[in-house]
Symmetry: C2
Subunit: 350 residues, 2 copies
Amino acid sequence: MKLDIAVLSGDGIGPEVTAQAIKALEAVAHSFDHTFIFKEALVGAIAIDKTGNPLPNETLELCVNTDAVLFGAIGDPKYDNNPSAPVRPEQGLLKLRKELGLYTNIRPVKAYPTLIDQSPLKRDIIEGTDISIYRELTGGIYFGKKHLSDDGTVASDLCEYSKMEIERVAHLAFKAAQKRKNKLTLVDKANVLESSRLWRKVVTEVAQEYKDVTLDFLFVDNAAMQMILNPSQFDVILTENMFGDIISDEASVIGGSIGLLASASVGDNCCMFEPIHGSYPQATGKGIANPIAAILSAAMLLEHFDLVGEANAIRDAVEKALELNITTPDLNTSNPLSTEKVGDFITDYI
Amino acid sequence: MKLDIAVLSGDGIGPEVTAQAIKALEAVAHSFDHTFIFKEALVGAIAIDKTGNPLPNETLELCVNTDAVLFGAIGDPKYDNNPSAPVRPEQGLLKLRKELGLYTNIRPVKAYPTLIDQSPLKRDIIEGTDISIYRELTGGIYFGKKHLSDDGTVASDLCEYSKMEIERVAHLAFKAAQKRKNKLTLVDKANVLESSRLWRKVVTEVAQEYKDVTLDFLFVDNAAMQMILNPSQFDVILTENMFGDIISDEASVIGGSIGLLASASVGDNCCMFEPIHGSYPQATGKGIANPIAAILSAAMLLEHFDLVGEANAIRDAVEKALELNITTPDLNTSNPLSTEKVGDFITDYI
Ligand SMILES: CC(C)[C@H](C(=O)O)[C@@H](O)C(=O)O
Ligand SMILES: CC(C)[C@H](C(=O)O)[C@@H](O)C(=O)O
């Protein structure tokens, strides 16, 4: 197979970890006889610094015409304390999601047996946890009409959803549940929000086409508790954009290391793969960033193109590295390896 | 002191636990020579059943003319699966908050040393946790304009905040921080929401009046992680209505038992005290409900009226009960006592 892959490595540790993911993909290309063509482009704070724009037109152009996007991370402390600044790195990411039509964000959360003791939660609570979170990514309060009164004393954001927006992500989530444990939990706040009531209605309708999947509902406040009390009860979680942002970040810490978590953002015409950790500026250039989340994002990319054996080759290599404790300082205090060395081991193992 | 207290015990286990809180308050009245006059009224599912209205006019009337409201719980499974039903118990609670102007919800979250092992989180993570969450309660997306298109395919909710709404709850939160560890964390999503940017701006201005309090900011997704990774970093958390609903419920599980957590909802003219557990219908009438959250809500009531010694008398009695393991089955599997017996012990101890 031939794939054009745009590489947007971004800020902070983004470039370091993305480099390891590319190495892993090149090893796969070599072993399985594929051709992957990588083209780099700017995004985030580095793009603002160089062009004034967090998502330059050439970057968007490249992404629109590529098969997949490999994304690093964005964000720089110099923008963090001023969310009202006219240009900010996040705007690049949000615009990219919207322009590429990436309406579904998929985040797997798994308790790796070797890492359970690193979790802030007790072993018996997290054992067996294997969740796939489907978050709507291009609608809701993120993209609804914003307003600030002329005198600056009243501000508002509109959370709006249409049936179509709910249906398309729901179908992807139900299909995923069919390949997993046939359970889907819709997280909403239907006891308060009109938009949540529409979610419940539309998802209940879509469920008719997936009779083998059990659908249940959880209010978001309760979901935030259940995620800690009993995470292994979940299979697929489906939710709207803002709730998904919160619940998926909460879920990300139960597995023991955020340095392992990958995500995919998909739409009808494009797809993007991204480690969920951020740009982690304090670690930049020190060789201590964990490359596994970026490498597992590459595995999600392969799986997206039905290269299942290839994806598993990456996952096996990662599990081997974890088993042998060939890991960065976040997971390994006694004998840590560098970002690059961990990447090398995984690449060689593939 | 003479206090008129409206008692809205509501649904499920509400009446059982509220009865124990009243006993504790009566013991305090007796020991400290106060007069507390209790008047009961209907709210929630039971009010719908009896009057068709989750907040009958007589109930609202009583609350408006009282010094404080002691609230039990609302909710009944027969309404849960139909959030679109025209009349629902939650509407009573939301209307009560709005009509009484209860714009601040205060929830203390503490790790009780005797209960740490009951927590889903590891001991070293939660030790020392002592948080007070200030949630705005009468604004934001809960009360903003809702809309459903005529053909039922587009739904929306408006999240709107004014400077005044932010200021008044912020002042209460800063004052609380001054009596605690002088730290206030604003939780928002200012990298995405216009309303959050107004929160940041206004809270930063209010902070000028409280120079002894350190203010910091956390995006809500990060807050959801930090609450699990390192809850003892927090002192006072201030946040808007929806984020407060999620974050405070998440925080409620770290202490080891939701059966211990009390809350206060305060405004300029009224105040209401409520255990944070819900109506827990499965436990109704079995004598297994933990009355401590309701009893600690009564302590918050006393403290609100500056009856600090009285509030501490209740808290000491509760700590004694926990220490001697005089507790309900949720905390005590070997030799559990009934709701009433736990209430009796605490009352006698006072
Ligand atoms: C950076 C921010 C705008 C973004 C979001 O809220 O979606 C991030 O938190 C994420 O989850 O990818
Ligand atoms: C019952 C519901 C409307 C309510 C809320 O969301 O405010 C509850 O979850 C709470 O936190 O008191």
